[in-house]
Symmetry: C3
Subunit: 334 residues, 3 copies
């Protein structure tokens, strides 16, 4: 049994296989129903549009049935720590939640964002790992504190769709947002782009570094795949010659637990880091990508997101196809 928690757990060949299957689904060539008669649970600690809708549609198209649960909403609040005396506000332990779901469902998807309170704890993805520890069925990470591998797979598919197999200059750029956001999307994009052998530039203001271990992983993957990873703090220079601009805001790991300090810190970067037409003109006719939801005229101007080179809707569509490939891989042989 395999989980899908991060692209880093999969070889380049395995990822290539997922992309091929995803394209076969998109072209309508693959109409197999590997989930026939099976139910899949989707567990949402956080809101969702693309993930929820694309997973529901994907499971249906693969012949399966969806059960959606929202802990703390439609379902009970969940404790994930081991050995706790549960006399507080948590009603059920992940140990029971996950094992029970595994009796009803053939796989479990889970979305659990960073709380952004304690960097050292959250960088280890404690909730996701509690799910993985107790799960008797495959888990699909639908965005955890540190990873969003379904997004990253869809991103790689979207780049492949536009540019073929060639290595490109891919710029992952920070942008201002009114509050600090988790870095799962950025982490997973960086890893997957490195695994794919792209020339990856990560642009962010000083103080907004990604996790050290993750950066080491990315550099190692890039070295293996014939690509590179570079960090830049000059946003304008970062755009020079880019083929892909991938925008994402995230919070500083230095300010977990103190969002007001992050908000003060980032205030200086608002105008400077927005993705606008002037910056896009420095690129090599780059496409614009973002995982969505995106705040218009905050992260990116209307002009850029509404331009022909904006491929955010294709990128969102590819979530569907990529996730079908993941589910077919995890459950197809059953």
């Amino acid at each position: 049994m395999k989980h899908f928690l991060s692209t880093k757990d999969f070889t380049r060949t395995e990822i290539e296989g997922l992309l091929e299957r995803a394209f076969a689904f998109k072209r309508g060539e693959d109409t197999s129903k590997p989930l026939d008669k099976n139910s899949i649970a989707l567990v949402f600690f956080n809101p969702s549009l693309r993930t929820r809708a694309s997973m529901q549609v994907g499971i249906y198209e693969l012949g399966g049935n969806v059960v959606v649960l929202e802990p703390g909403g439609t379902s009970w609040t969940l404790e994930h720590r081991d050995g706790v005396v549960m006399d507080g506000d948590k009603t059920e332990h992940v140990a029971e939640f996950v094992r029970v779901l595994g009796r009803y469902c053939k796989a479990i998807g889970v979305r659990t964002f960073a709380a952004m309170k304690d960097w050292e704890a959250e960088r280890l993805d404690p909730v996701l790992n509690a799910f993985a520890k107790h799960a008797d069925v495959p888990l699909i990470n639908l965005e955890s504190a540190m990873h969003h591998p379904c997004q990253a797979l869809a991103d790689m598919m979207t780049i492949r769709e536009r540019f073929g197999e060639k290595s490109k200059r891919v710029v992952l750029t920070w942008a201002w947002h009114p509050k600090p956001l988790p870095m799962a999307v950025s982490n997973s994009f960086a890893l997957a782009a490195a695994q794919a052998g792209h020339t990856l530039v990560i642009a962010h203001p000083k103080g907004y570094e990604l996790d050290d271990e993750l950066m080491n992983d990315a550099r190692m993957f890039a070295a293996h795949a014939g690509g590179s990873v570079e960090v830049m703090h000059d946003v304008d220079a970062a755009f020079d010659g880019a083929h892909i601009i991938y925008a994402k805001s995230w919070g500083s790991k230095n300010f977990y637990g103190a969002p007001e300090k992050d908000i003060a810190e980032r205030a200086a970067y608002r105008e400077k880091w927005i993705i606008d037409a002037a910056k896009m003109r420095r690129t090599d006719d780059a496409v614009f990508m973002h995982c969505l939801p995106v705040r218009r005229n905050v992260i990116v101007t209307d002009e850029v997101i509404d331009a022909a080179n904006s491929i955010v809707i294709d990128e969102a569509e590819n979530r569907l196809h990529a996730q079908k490939a993941v589910m077919a891989m995890l459950l197809g042989e059953n």
Copy 2:
């Protein structure tokens, strides 16, 4: 591609076609599956029983799959205005939301009530129209600020079921409710009854007029269809000779943004405007209709809603059949 936003966008012949199809579904004669392999998104900004349940069942019976989203709940908060700098509390723009959903789903149903804060803005149905502006797939209006065409179609079906094709004396009557409600149901009922050529009486206290443009449309449709539209302020006289009593409370357009003033204004009408047995005795053995939910002994007495002539449950059932006809029309040819 066609949307279903208001019955006024459809000819009398087209509406007749929808009613015929709806009856064929109800009689069990039409068991076609025009939605086979397709997913439909249902977007609820507001609560729902009939709409949610009947759409889910209808889509299933037509062979399709449902994805339900609640912006601000299970899904992200939505901005619908163009050109806004999104640095407030809205997370995603309708422009992306609708286009992404259109990649996963073959049609989108949306329910978005009036906020009842700004009459001049809301009478133009801004959220619904933002959806329509960006949608690449058919939209189904599941009640907007100004229209509830699925309800109106089910209402016309219910009247047809009871009275055949004859023109009847149809009384749309205001009733007291503890707080001001949107007028979408009243608007759509008035339009559809006028389009069907009924003798339409709209009874309400002075100050509770429907929208001027809508009333003009209704009068124009009535003239074309050989019917009429009359407004009365004497609720007792309005009941005289009626064949159909259609009750609905709504707020005054004069008090959008000031509900407490509407509540003060309407206080005098509470006992006077309730639908009770005494008023029903003035009618020509009229049936009682209401779109539901209805507050018993506030809008209508238990005696009237529990009487044999109350057809509110049939009316609710017909939502299912009417909406199946709408979806079959919008998507059947695909």
Copy 3:
């Protein structure tokens, strides 16, 4: 037409039939689709994991379609009392809600916990009974103020699975919980265990007696079935020789409406009544059961719930099979 509101409405033979069918589903021998083309409504006034997931999966596996509604959340707030002037905070009456749902769906499941405010009113299960009064289709009780028959049926199946048809020493034991909980699970377990002819011991501190009428019913059933019902207040002695330890916390009927008094009253029992290894050693190698969710190290220690004799996950799985048997019985002949 029959409802499934409590096991006490069914004979021992009927319950045996349900268990046989449930085992046939579990073994994969029964793959019939009695719900084909049918929709079932699930109405949740309260959160749920097992009930929601197992019902959704069960309905799918029986060939049907699920509509989930949450009154006061996704759906309107509901009034259940007859004759009320609905000018308060309730938007729709159960009389309409249930009859409308019955037009769309072939059965209705409803979960409506005790509010724990008024014992004399709630012990009569007023919301469930309002549903039953108005329902034109079979109702399935998914936990009401006083009963949780689906849980009890799964419990009997789990005991049967482990011990065969023999009568066993079954101990239903109260445990400390930070706040008073409803007694539906305890009530239904007591009734079903008595109906099955077990030697039933109910252990709880003085003041935590179950309902008098329910205890009389249980004693009557036990007498008929060749079993017995005994109440004990010494938790340690109660464990002596037990084959099954069934733990559940509940509130005192003396403190409905005054939870703070119950919390004060129970404070003395926290350490005393926890299910721990020392108590389990007094049993005849008993299995540990709990309906879940369970608070670890509050109701039961990690050591006990994680031991080989803990069968809480099997018990939860059996919800699925037992409920499929109930639905097949209620709707199979259609």
